[in-house]
């Protein structure tokens, strides 16, 4: 798996963060205040979660006046959902290396 996928995985392992992301997917763009109202954690904690999600490419933000609106970018999940393809290419490359090794073991 490439590093981008690891960032996506890591950012979604936390259940609170995952809930925030799911909410953005379901309900569309939201402010930190709106998210905090239902997240069950403090506003700074929500902001921190949003910044992790943003770094992973899962969330985008839009500034409007003093407000920042956050929205989900589910396209960042495509590699995760394409697990089969990703793992196939991982094992293909490892099998190539295994074959190299087997050829070298002959000598």
């Amino acid at each position: 798996m490439a590093n981008a996928h690891e960032a996506v995985f890591r950012s979604l392992v936390d259940p609170t963060r995952r809930a925030i992301f799911e909410r953005l997917c379901r309900e569309g763009e939201q402010t930190v205040a709106a998210l905090t109202a239902v997240a069950g954690v403090s506003q700074p904690a929500v902001s921190k979660h949003l910044s992790v999600l943003k770094q992973a490419g899962l969330v985008g933000d839009r500034h409007e006046g003093r407000q920042t609106h956050y929205s989900a970018r589910p396209a960042a999940l495509t590699p995760l959902v394409n697990w089969t393809k990703e793992m196939t290419s991982f094992w293909e490359s490892r099998l190539d290396r295994l074959e190299d090794l087997l050829n070298r073991m002959d000598r």
Binding site: F9, C25, T84, L95, L102
Partner: protein
């Protein structure tokens, strides 16, 4: 290769190799050989042995895969769990002798259908999450 639900997804790769099963078995069961083509590890071919596979794709990022040996049939079958980032799977190697060498098959299942250990919320959450995400992505297409 099948692309089913999150609970059953798996990948299968097969190769015809011009090498005898005994030699391939060495390459997939000896730690210093495994390291050459797969990852650093402390593997032992003993059922129940727990080990790690590690790699460091970037200096500040170490990937650790937790594994446990499930099956060892010398020169025939090797199977271990493969748990990385809260996703548990099983990797199974099957070696079948042929006239010219060996038919090698590797299968990785994404999630074990018979979860022995309770991974609790994290694991169940992942399955649901992935299923939901697939729905979301389907709708976007």
């Amino acid at each position: 290769m099948s692309e089913g639900s999150a609970a059953t997804r798996s990948v299968v790769l097969e190769r015809e190799l011009p090498h005898p099963p005994e030699k391939i078995w060495r390459a997939i069961t000896r730690p210093h050989l495994i390291e050459e083509w797969l990852m650093k590890n402390d593997f032992k071919p003993e059922v129940g042995h727990r080990f790690n596979m590690t790699r460091t794709p970037k200096p500040d990022l170490e990937i650790v895969v937790d594994c446990e040996v499930l099956a060892v049939e010398p020169c025939r079958v090797l199977s271990y769990t493969w748990c990385a980032m809260d996703l548990e799977g099983v990797v199974t190697w099957t070696l079948t002798p042929t006239a010219t060498g060996t038919h090698l098959r590797v299968e990785q299942s994404g999630f074990r259908p018979d979860q022995k250990r309770a991974y609790g919320g994290a694991h169940a959450g992942w399955k649901q999450m992935l299923a939901k995400l697939e729905q979301i992505l389907d709708k976007m297409d």
